[in-house]
């Protein structure tokens, strides 16, 4: 089957700009873990569709705002994680939990705001939802219900697994020269580990590459595809061999199922449990441009049964081992992106890739433009 997306959907800045508005500007986007902002004044910062986001803890209550000071436009919080009040470092404007400016140093001496103008000084507030320990933000003016994006069973399993997360979290970043969509097409491709991870992941886990026949109907009924169908997860791979590690005795295992778990949360979050419930990672692919994607990864174990001295080593070694596998993915995605950048025709999809096809159909409907319309627009420009 000819793929539904054309090469320009991966490489064209015009498409990227529309994605920022119509996907990332409309959908619920994972922003981080609740245990990283559990204490008063703790915060985290992210970007969504080009907008700056801060999630701040106000005396135990989490709020999401645009992280841009109403005064001179400086970022209010400047670190990815930290603990300080929501105060801009430029002129000391301090924001309350409703986002309004609570105090301005030297206000009466220097600013001369009229009452109406003063009352309107506030940060833009965004919708924030918590699923277990996972935090999602929606920057739309009219956010859809979270349940419209993620089916009930997905939300239940995400809540269950993330409630098992420990509160010691390793956070790492790296950047790939590929379009963000390629990462999720790759993750939805159960066949690739046998070729890309021949000597690594494929030695330990066997993933299914079965044809999802239940999705075949949508080729005839593309309008029947719903957003909730694009996210799925659970036990996906079976272990060919499973290693028992010393830290397993120190944590409270999530469940008792010896399986490799994957959750793919549309559009750009991947939750992994690669060892049957002892440790987890969350990959968040943030599009920086049509050809650049920043990956933030959170590594953590299941909640500790008891404190142990080697927990930092466990997380750091886990991160390095996982990165070797991610490097294998990154290499093929960068090569695929390079190929698409010069290609004149769409890719080819097999029937085992029906999940990608369904996702592409929904994506095109959401963008409400065809490849031809982008092409006309580009030529016109």
């Amino acid at each position: 089957m000819r793929g539904l997306l054309s090469p320009m959907h991966y490489t064209d800045p015009a498409v990227f700009a529309v994605e920022a508005r119509k996907l990332f500007g409309q959908l619920w986007i994972f922003v981080g873990l609740a245990q990283l902002v559990a204490e008063p004044d703790q915060f985290l910062t992210r970007h969504i569709g080009g907008r700056e986001i801060v999630v701040q803890n106000f005396e135990g209550e989490l709020r999401a705002f645009e992280n841009v000071c109403a005064h001179r436009g400086k970022l209010v919080q400047t670190e990815p994680f930290g603990r300080r009040p929501l105060v801009c470092g430029y002129h000391g404007w301090r924001y309350s939990q409703t986002g309004v400016v609570a105090t301005i140093p030297f206000e009466s001496d220097c600013y001369g705001f009229e009452a109406k103008e003063r009352d309107a000084l506030a940060l833009t507030r965004f919708a924030l939802e918590r699923v277990g320990n996972l935090l999602f933000v929606n920057v739309s003016d009219d956010p859809m219900p979270l349940a419209s994006q993620f089916a009930g069973e997905i939300l239940e399993s995400l809540e269950s697994v993330s409630n098992a997360f420990d509160d010691e979290v390793l956070v790492a970043k790296f950047t790939g020269r590929y379009n963000w969509k390629l990462a999720y097409e790759n993750l939805r491709d159960g066949l690739h580990p046998r070729f890309v991870h021949t000597t690594s992941l494929n030695q330990d886990v066997r993933f299914s590459a079965d044809i999802p026949e239940h999705l075949a109907q949508y080729d005839a009924d593309p309008d029947g595809i719903e957003l909730g169908q694009l996210s799925f997860g659970g036990a996906e791979g079976t272990f060919l061999k499973q290693q028992r590690l010393p830290f397993h005795d120190s944590v409270i295992r999530w469940g008792e199922h010896d399986a490799y778990f994957n959750w793919l949360l549309y559009p750009n979050t991947h939750v992994v449990c690669s060892d049957g419930g002892y440790s987890f990672s969350i990959e968040h692919h943030e599009p920086l441009g049509p050809d650049r994607t920043e990956v933030t990864i959170y590594f953590l174990t299941a909640r500790k049964r008891k404190r142990y001295s080697g927990s930092a080593a466990v997380l750091w070694e886990y991160a390095k081992a996982a990165k070797l596998i991610l490097d294998e993915d990154t290499a093929v995605m960068e090569q695929a992106h390079a190929g698409l950048a010069g290609a004149r025709r769409s890719v080819t999809q097999g029937r085992y890739e029906l999940q990608n096809r369904v996702t592409d159909r929904w994506y095109l409907r959401q963008l409400a433009r065809t490849a031809e319309s982008f092409e006309r627009e580009r030529q016109h420009a």
Binding site: Q35, L36, F81, D166, D167, E168, V169, L170, V171, A172, K173, F174, T175, Q243, R244, L245, P246, E294, K304, R307, Y308, S309, G310, S311, A312, A313, L315, W316, E317, A319, K320, K323, D327
Partner: protein, 216 residues
């Protein structure tokens, strides 16, 4: 320096390097090598040490510093729990203050330079041609890679690793469980559980409640 026969226990290149350096420096001493593998890079079966009774032999734990030195520390502790005295070594070609006292299981490689008033705890490894500046303080199980340079009054926390070629500026404090694996200059103090690696962009950090139990 102990004059008992020495059993160098560990794995990998570090085991070979340490044993070779010791044999070259002390040719008249009985020095044996015991390689102990690990199924999980952490736990090791030391039953074969029974052929070298602790009453007559002393030992040295020789492992690489990966995994923030935890496997190296565990090996050292396990050997000590078996009743062995742990020896330390300063290469004859290293430069260290006269009478510098080293705690157990420390190793200073050829060409290293240690300035005056440097204090260290046990299980230190200093690579060849590394420099440790005046008044620096090193926690236990610290690893200083080959050619690394620590300025004056630098502080390195327990279990931390300074990679080959790294340069730590004067007065910088590095926390516990850090890995500085980029050969660059570090000018600002570094919080515990921070990792610099060519595998990732920027520093990698562990956030959350302190879970460190300093067991030694």
């Amino acid at each position: 320096m102990l004059d008992r026969p020495l059993l160098v226990v560990g794995a990998g290149t570090v085991l070979e390097q340490c044993a070779a350096a010791w044999k070259e420096a002390q040719p008249d001493r009985t020095i044996e090598i015991l390689e102990v593998g690990s199924p999980d890079h952490f736990t090791r079966n030391l039953d074969a040490m029974s052929e070298y009774p602790a009453e007559r032999w002393c030992a040295f734990a020789a492992l690489a510093g990966t995994g923030v030195n935890m496997a190296r520390l565990k090996l050292m502790v396990d050997i000590r729990l078996k009743g062995y005295r742990l020896d330390s070594f300063v290469s004859p070609s290293a430069s260290a203050p006269r009478g510098w006292k080293l705690p157990e299981n420390c190793f200073v490689s050829a060409g290293a330079v240690v300035a005056e008033n440097v204090k260290t705890r046990h299980n230190l490894y200093v690579g060849s041609r590394a420099v440790i500046g005046f008044g620096s303080q090193l926690g236990h199980s610290v690893w200083i890679g080959a050619g690394a340079v620590l300025g004056s009054k630098v502080s390195i926390g327990d279990n931390s690793l300074v990679g080959p070629g790294a340069v730590i500026a004067d007065d910088v404090q590095v926390g516990k469980f850090c890995e500085l694996n980029l050969a660059r200059e570090y000018r600002e103090s570094i919080a515990s559980k921070t990792f610099f690696s060519p595998m990732f962009d920027g520093p990698v950090r562990i956030y959350g409640k302190a879970n460190v139990v300093d067991s030694l």
